[in-house]
């Protein structure tokens, strides 16, 4: 093992990588990591396509792809190869250069965003001790935001450069949608930054390593360390805005096939379409990985597991925990797609601007208040009194808030009688649905079976 002083740059409490542990790798280690991240993302994309098709199929009670390879696992590989060899069509009215650049921008940004994801602690790579993470910077989470912000250009420009109406509409929709949901997403990070005290991903993972002991009315217990419990509102808002940010159902309005054919990628074919497809799935993996990093403890298995498996959070094992967390989050994406219908565009925008962002701002304010209270050097009971006062004022306000008077709806008969002459016909109010003749026959057939037949067999 090569030893040098900078390798001591690790977290004093856990011995895990911190910001200072990065930027010292030899070039070939960096190359291995770059290739590793690339392979991870491509394999995850191929796997996620299969995963999505199988899970949605199971939800819709059908088998899904099951022909190529074990469980149909090679289906997406076959599809990808086929896509690459298809004819590349350039629309006559397309803006040639921009049409070509757009999918490239999408894909490059998608890959770049993953460079700061922490996969695990220090590992030994060919005798070199190095953190299992490509790189880390002091503003790592902002890098993801910047990449997703630049990735929008791919979609918008692809829609514009196609020179056709539906892609243009898809591009316009996505630019408005992604900017709106990026605001909500960025605000949901703020609570994490405030609690962890840093924007670097490796240090955010470290901040979730151990819960802080809390003494409440004489009871000693350890507060949960993962941020999804500590910062539940942020976690919920992040999860919702992540779906909006990745153009996934029920927020997939830029490519709403019932309204816009294919949205921004209507005119794209062959490898260019494949790049868009790749970028979309990588973005899904990225937001899932970021969610795991920021809210679900990163690559760490739950702390309580360490009591019966001390080495659970060391070596290469955390890579498996990280992947499991990402796959679980991807399952939620697929679940949403299999369950929820698409939103109407105005409802969707209203939800983002009028619900998610104000709720987030109020939550940040509350959290800042709690943090300030925690730092005051006063006894716990006094703190609790302050917190109770605040809650009491809010409850009192909610109680005294003027309520809207609800109009009692007219009875159904009067509503029908109020309809003007010549209105659209209504079925009679005392309608009896006749029994289906088929049902009658089935009952009749059943009756002919002798009641004792089962006992004889």
């Amino acid at each position: 093992m090569i030893l040098s002083p900078h390798l001591l740059a690790e977290d004093p409490a856990t011995g895990d990588p911190t910001l200072a542990s990065f930027g010292h790798d030899p070039w070939w280690i960096v190359l291995i990591k770059v290739v590793g991240v690339f392979v991870f993302l491509v394999v995850m994309t191929l796997f996620t396509i299969w995963y999505e098709r199988r899970v949605v199929a199971r939800m819709q009670v059908r088998p899904g792809p099951n022909r190529h390879g074990p469980f149909g696992l090679l289906q997406s590989l076959a599809d990808g190869l086929k896509l690459a060899f298809k004819e590349d069509i350039m629309p006559l009215k397309a803006d040639k250069v921009v049409f070509f650049i757009a999918p490239v921008i999408s894909t490059v940004c998608a890959f770049t965003a993953f460079s700061i994801m922490p996969f695990g602690p220090f590992v030994s790579m060919f005798g070199v001790r190095t953190p299992l993470q490509l790189t880390d910077i002091s503003v790592a989470v902002l890098l993801v935001l910047a990449c997703s912000g630049m990735g929008i250009y791919g979609i918008v420009l692809g829609g514009w450069a196609s020179g056709s109406t539906y892609p243009l509409l898809g591009g316009l929709r996505s630019s408005a949608q992604l900017i709106s949901y990026e605001v909500a997403m960025g605000l949901s990070f703020v609570a994490v930054f405030m609690t962890a005290g840093t924007m670097s991903t490796s240090e955010i993972v470290n901040a979730q390593a151990q819960g802080s002991p809390v003494n409440l009315f004489g009871f000693e217990f350890t507060a949960p360390s993962w941020f999804f419990l500590l910062l539940l509102p942020s976690f919920i808002i992040y999860s919702i805005s992540a779906v909006g940010e990745t153009n996934r159902a029920p927020f997939d309005l830029p490519e709403a096939e019932s309204e816009l054919v294919g949205g921004f990628h209507t005119e794209y074919s062959s490898l260019k379409f494949a790049l868009f497809f790749l970028a979309e799935y990588i973005n899904m993996v990225t937001v899932s990985a970021l969610c795991a990093t920021l809210f679900l403890g990163g690559w760490r298995a739950p702390t309580s597991f360490e009591s019966f498996w001390p080495g659970i959070n060391s070596g290469w094992w955390p890579l498996a925990w990280f992947t499991i967390k990402v796959l679980l989050l991807l399952f939620v994406f697929i679940w949403l797609r299999g369950t929820l219908p698409r939103l109407r565009y105005d409802q969707f925008m209203r939800f983002g601007w009028k619900v998610l962002i104000p709720v987030n701002l109020v939550w940040i304010l509350v959290l800042a208040g709690i943090k300030t209270l925690q730092k005051q050097n006063i006894p716990t009971q006094e703190k609790l009194i302050y917190a109770g006062l605040a809650v009491g004022v809010i409850l009192l306000l909610a109680l005294l808030w003027p309520q809207k008077k609800e109009e009692t709806p007219l009875p159904l008969e009067e509503q029908v009688a109020k309809r003007p002459e010549g209105s659209f016909p209504l079925p009679p109010m005392d309608l009896q649905v006749p029994v289906s003749p088929r049902a009658k026959r089935l009952t009749a057939e059943r009756e002919t079976v002798p009641a004792t037949s089962e006992e004889e067999v």
Partner: protein
């Protein structure tokens, strides 16, 4: 980004001196930034202009990062490149893709004078800045980033510059409210039509709630100029767009297509 980490680490070690990585990044991106700026002015198409500007802004963001200001660099990319330029693009795309600049000069010799004046201004500013910063040592970089770049900015923003910061945000909010006020149309309470009322109106007597038939439905020709036929054989006038010029159909178009016998 990997490069920037190493550059940052190197910058921290040898503060005040220009490291190799920083130099390389600068010489790689500075021409790109200048090309982007020129391209923005020269490009005929408005969207292309915007894209060149994006290139310049992106390069500027990386310059900030290289000069040990990672937060401001990322914010430059997220806010300016990611949000503001995107809104520009949004408007440009609404205007239409063929909206190119006109090349006709309204004032004679305007272009030449503008180029000369522009070059003069650039030269003046360039030499001024060069003279002012030629031998200036960079001081206090380490001190500013001592507790981390973000923390340094935060402590300055919320202590020394809190008043300026708040006034600026009040200004921006005033501008936003003003813009909303100008664009907003006040609606009386009863004027606003909700979804329920819309559906009521749709099924009111005298309104046909279904979609209109497309041209050529049940007709002998699928031409957009052929009205659809209603079940009783009369032509449905509203199946044709009113902007289409009416034309007389030829006898071949009217004749039956001999589909009955098949």
């Amino acid at each position: 980004m990997m490069l920037s980490t190493q550059v940052l680490a190197a910058a921290a070690e040898t503060a005040g001196q220009v490291s190799g990585g920083e130099k390389w990044t600068f010489f790689l991106l500075a021409p790109l930034a200048v090309i982007g700026a020129l391209g923005m002015v020269i490009a005929r198409n408005a969207v292309h202009s915007a894209l060149w500007l994006v290139l310049t802004m992106l390069s500027l963001g990386v310059f900030y990062i290289v000069q040990a200001g990672p937060f401001i660099g990322m914010v430059q990319i997220i806010v300016y490149t990611g949000a503001i330029m995107m809104l520009f693009l949004f408007v440009l795309m609404l205007v239409g893709r063929d909206a190119s600049d006109s090349v006709i000069e309204t004032l004679r010799g305007q272009k030449v004078v503008a180029i000369l004046l522009g070059l003069g201004l650039a030269g003046l500013l360039g030499t001024g800045v060069y003279q002012a910063t030629r031998n200036m040592p960079s001081v206090g970089l380490e001190l500013a980033n001592a507790n981390g770049n973000v923390q340094g900015i935060a402590s300055l923003l919320f202590t020394r510059y809190v008043y300026v910061f708040e006034v600026t945000s009040a200004l921006l909010i005033t501008a936003a409210v003003g813009a909303m006020l100008l664009a907003h149309r006040e609606r009386a309470k009863g004027e606003r039509v909700g979804q329920v009322a819309q559906m009521r109106a749709r099924f009111e007597p005298g309104n046909y709630p279904g979609p209109k038939p497309g041209p050529g439905v049940f007709a002998n020709s699928t031409s957009v100029a052929t009205p659809a036929k209603l079940p009783d054989g009369t032509p449905a006038e509203r199946s044709i767009s009113p902007i289409l010029p009416t034309r007389e159909l030829t006898s071949a178009e009217i004749a039956n297509k001999h589909t009955e016998g098949k």
